[in-house]
């Protein structure tokens, strides 16, 4: 029993993935091409001030995101957007997708953040890009831009940071980019390390329990090299990255039983290459990337015949594609095609050996009138699966539309409005299709429909800049893939059994105010309402109940103030109560929490060419006892001190 649940909830197979190689994309860098009515972005300054330990700590600040975190550094972290489930979101790093066909979801806890210089989330229109085709058709995207894979104007750039924090957290990062003439060469290396024995507290009936997390050590390192060449209208990039991780898996906090001893090691190799040609009439981008993920999971005290579990998985993904965009006054087109080849092997005998060829093609037309833009897109997807060791998933062919109408900025307030509809799906992962008893090769893809109306305005003032956006949306997820006990209570298997309706509203605000040349302030905040309800079966006790772990209300509120070299940021994150199961009863309730971090920094050196900044962050300053997931206690108050050096 333990094994089965462990696999479903916790083990490496769902735990999967880590950062891979990837790279830039100029399009990502240039946010103006995005239609800001829907996209949220976080810049390098904000990222640094948030003192994140992984990319999940940044993505949680974006409106509409639901973070699931199972612990501190290295712990499983996933995000989902607008109640759709994490597998509907694509992570795109420097213009290349970060995917894992074994688990279908990326463990954000394993993606380092010190090299990240910008994050953008994109839900609606993506027509003005040459992003990978798979990312252009997915439910939503998170676009991550790193230092090492971007062209810039300086000949030499250096980024370096060291950090030390509670529970013996240690971080070091060095990135060097040399750009003679039209070339760039970059090399980066980083490590993250933590004993992870953080203090936490929880209520056991009348007893207040204060304890330390065990078996939660984490260490990783990564290094990478990239090269790029720029011509007048062309550019080319190539890069490689290796990441290795060794970690204890602390598991759930089980009352009266602290015997966790599972471990996981991960080794990941990835490469990327792309070539982009920007002619006057046509932008062409050819891209390819691949990753090999080697994952070993051990549980030496599992009570089976062989006296423990020691299993290694090997997941390979190779992606190649072509993305095109025509340039036109009124009418232009975009589209392309992409192939993804992936497989999964296991060193034991119990696992199948599935492989998948997935093709995604897209054709879109964009018509621009004086104040309106109309977009219509159609994508087709073909999936072929093979499994020589057993039953195989079905081959698929699907067509999915996207349509939108936008009204451009009007008047002084630059009012924008947009209305769009997207139909998309996500494939079942290899684990969901094939994993021993759990997998179900008859699974259908999970369908998502999104309708969004958004409005934004941007009143401009010299001293004060305010940017306000709001969206209302309705999403419907069908054929939801969920685990159901199908053989006995201990053997759960994946089934398509759910329909979910999501009624959402969000309000996003960014305001910057400069009192004087030396005094600057900014306030950013967002409020997200997500009524995400189960509408599968009228007779079910969970009919119209809020889906497990989706909060009704999420609030981000950050305020920062700086005077010359000194600054501070007060960052707040509020999540309302959630339920650990779909039945909304008190016994399933997971308490609301407010997480507040305070950062102060001082620029020791601030010159034209280089800067040195000392920063101190107190996280969870009110020492809240909280959890995203029931039984996965999060750290109490903790501290992080860091030194950041930048040359150019």
């Amino acid at each position: 029993m333990k094994k089965i649940f462990a696999i479903l909830l916790f083990s490496p197979i769902l735990y999967g993935q880590q950062d891979t190689i990837q790279v830039v994309e100029e399009v990502v860098a240039n946010q103006s091409v995005f239609h800001y009515s829907e996209n949220s972005s976080i810049n390098a300054k904000d990222i640094e001030e948030l003192s994140p330990v992984d990319i999940g700590d940044v993505l949680m600040k974006i409106s509409g995101v639901n973070l699931k975190s199972y612990g501190s550094l290295g712990g499983l972290k996933t995000v989902s957007m607008r109640g759709l489930g994490s597998n509907h979101s694509t992570i795109v790093k420097d213009g290349f997708t970060v995917s894992n066909t074994q688990t279908g979801q990326v463990n954000l806890g394993q993606i380092e953040v010190d090299n990240v210089v910008g994050v953008v989330s994109s839900i609606g229109n993506r027509y003005n890009t040459v992003l990978p085709i798979s990312a252009q058709v997915s439910g939503s995207n998170f676009l991550i831009k790193t230092f090492e894979n971007t062209f810039s104007s300086d000949t030499l750039q250096i980024r370096c940071s060291v950090k030390y924090g509670s529970f013996n957290q240690q971080f070091a990062y060095l990135g060097v980019k040399y750009q003679p003439n039209k070339w760039f060469f970059s090399a980066t290396g980083a490590f993250r390390k933590s004993v992870g024995d953080y203090n936490y507290s929880y209520q056991n009936g009348l007893l207040q329990i204060n304890d330390k997390r065990l078996n939660n050590d984490y260490q990783d390192y990564n290094w990478g090299v990239s090269i790029g060449r720029k011509w007048k209208r062309k550019n080319f990039r190539f890069g490689y990255k290796n990441t290795a991780i060794d970690q204890g898996l602390p598991g759930a906090v089980i009352l009266y039983n602290a015997t966790q001893d599972e471990r996981m090691t991960t080794n990941n190799h990835s490469f990327f290459a792309d070539f982009q040609n920007n002619s006057k009439k046509l932008v062409t981008r050819v891209y390819a990337n691949g990753r090999m993920n080697h994952l070993r999971y051990t549980d030496p005290t599992f009570l089976n015949t062989s006296g423990g579990i020691d299993v290694t998985y090997f997941n390979r993904n190779i992606t190649g594609g072509l993305a095109l965009k025509t340039i036109g006054e009124k009418l232009f087109f975009n589209g392309g095609t992409e192939f993804i080849l992936s497989d999964l092997t296991e060193d034991g005998q119990n696992f199948d050996h599935p492989s998948r060829l997935h093709n995604i093609s897209l054709l879109g037309a964009n018509y621009q009138l004086k104040s309106f833009t109309f977009v219509a897109q159609l994508s087709s997807q073909m999936v072929f699966e093979e499994n020589p060791n057993g039953l195989s998933g079905k081959d698929r062919f699907r067509i999915n539309p996207f349509i939108s109408i936008e009204q451009q900025g009007q008047g002084k307030m630059k009012l924008k409005q947009s209305l769009w509809y997207r139909n998309s799906f996500r494939m079942p992962s290899f684990n969901e299709l094939y994993y021993n008893n759990i997998g179900n090769n008859l699974l259908e893809p999970e369908d998502a429909n999104q309708i969004n109306y958004g409005v934004s305005f941007l009143p401009i003032d010299k001293k004060l800049s305010v940017f306000v956006r709001s969206n209302v949306y309705f999403n419907k997820v069908k054929n939801k893939i969920v685990a159901v006990p199908t053989k006995n209570l201990f053997v759960w298997s994946m089934q398509n059994v759910g329909t979910t309706n999501i009624y959402g509203f969000e309000l996003i605000l960014d305001a910057n105010y400069s009192f004087s040349k030396n005094w600057k302030s900014s306030i950013t905040g967002n409020y997200s309402y997500q009524r995400t309800i189960d509408v599968t079966d009228k007779n079910s006790p969970t009919y119209k109940n809020q889906i497990a772990y989706i909060p009704l209300h999420t609030v981000n509120f950050d305020a920062s103030l700086s005077y010359k070299k000194i600054g501070a940021r007060f960052s707040n994150y509020f999540v309302s109560e959630r339920y650990s199961l779909n039945e909304n009863v008190i016994a399933n309730r997971v308490d609301a929490f407010l997480l507040s971090d305070l950062t102060v920094f001082y620029r020791l050196i601030l010159k034209d060419k280089y800067s040195l900044k000392l920063q101190f962050t107190a996280k969870n300053i009110f020492n809240q006892s909280y959890a995203y997931i029931r039984s996965y206690a999060m750290p109490g108050r903790n501290y992080l001190i860091s030194l950041h050096y930048a040359f150019n």
Partner: protein, 351 residues
């Protein structure tokens, strides 16, 4: 600054908890009711105990927590009453909770962890002054019911489940369930005087629950492999310690009702259930549709109360919703349902 105040107002509003359900207070001395163990779900630490008051029909779903001042833990698999004490076997927390049967106040908590490995206890039976607990690590632990400590560990087969006693011998079902698909298919026989394993009897695949009939025969449910090999019942002679026959009845639960057996089966694939009446003297099914599927979502427990002559079915409602105890007369007629906690499995009856 209006925004800041708006933010704090929002925060305040959302922090306010919804109205709590009015708690049911259970009297200091338990009587005339049912104590229901609700297993909860793995890693949620939400195993609970409900008390159904037969006099007024009131139900408390927090009995353990109210009486003990702390939570029961993760995955309570078995509850039994013996010698004025209640024993609750908590599998994932790896504890045995011992409570006063009348007041439900805790007497002690026996930790079933040895050398930093959780023994994962599953079920408990009693004989004389000893309690016998199957542990998933391949042992039966012997607990003295006065000292309340583990005195001895008797090695058996892989991942032992249910037990039964006949002819001064303890019969232990070795499931091998954690090595799926390489299940075990043996019954360990332990001498209750010497505490020595006498032999292993080969029976059907993946044995789980077992009971002894009035003539000393043992009936064991073999769960099969949940696929090509269906569940069945092995009949074992406790004098010769040999398997007499394997009866082709699909079963998940088996209990005694006077001289008969109630045999229940929950089919996980079709999600249907049924209760059969079986005569262990003639070895025949006397009523194959004793209690039908109607009104039962997920049959997860089956018990008979000789005092009021009623049958009780625990309904796990798909395993992720709070469950029900459904009451039937001894002729199989539905009487009423009680809404309890998550995944009810076992009931203790109080007169």
């Amino acid at each position: 600054m209006r925004l800041i105040s708006l933010f704090f107002i929002l925060t305040f509003l959302f922090s306010c908890k919804k109205k709590e359900e009015k708690p049911v207070v259970v009297s200091d001395m338990l009587s005339n009711g049912m104590v229901v163990l609700c297993e909860g779900l793995f890693q949620q630490n939400n195993s609970t105990v409900s008390f159904i008051n037969n006099a007024d029909g009131s139900i408390s779903n927090t009995l353990f927590q109210d009486k003990a001042g702390r939570m029961l833990g993760d995955t309570g698999n078995d509850i039994q009453k013996y010698g004025g004490k209640i024993y609750i076997v908590v599998n994932v927390s790896s504890t045995i909770e011992v409570l006063d049967a009348r007041t439900f106040k805790p007497i002690t908590q026996i930790s079933m962890i040895e050398n930093s490995v959780a023994k994962q206890p599953r079920s408990i039976v009693f004989n004389g002054s000893k309690a016998y607990v199957t542990c998933y690590d391949g042992y039966v632990d012997v607990i003295d019911t006065t000292a309340l400590v583990v005195e001895q560990r008797i090695q058996v087969g892989r991942n032992p489940e249910g037990m039964a006693i006949a002819n001064n011998k303890l019969y232990v079902a070795n499931s091998g369930g954690l090595s799926s698909p390489d299940y075990d298919s043996t019954l360990s026989v332990i001498d209750l005087t010497s505490h020595v394993e006498l032999l292993k009897i080969n029976i059907g695949l993946n044995p789980s629950a077992l009971i002894a009939d009035n003539s000393g025969e043992i009936y064991v449910i073999n769960r099969g492999d949940y696929g090509a090999i269906p569940s069945s019942i092995s009949r074992v002679n406790s004098s010769t310690d040999t398997e007499i026959e394997e009866i082709n009845i699909n079963a998940t639960h088996i209990v005694k009702m006077n001289n008969d057996f109630l045999v229940a089966n929950y089919n996980y694939t079709t999600q249907t259930s049924g209760v059969t009446l079986f005569n262990p003297q003639t070895e025949t099914v006397t009523n194959s549709a004793f209690i039908g599927d109607n009104g039962i979502t997920t049959l997860y427990g089956l018990q008979y109360n000789p005092t009021n002559d009623n049958i009780y079915i625990s309904d796990a409602m798909g395993f992720t919703n709070t469950g029900y105890v459904r009451e039937y007369s001894s002729t199989g007629t539905f009487i009423q349902s009680f809404h309890v906690g998550l995944n009810p499995n076992k009931i203790i009856f109080y007169d």
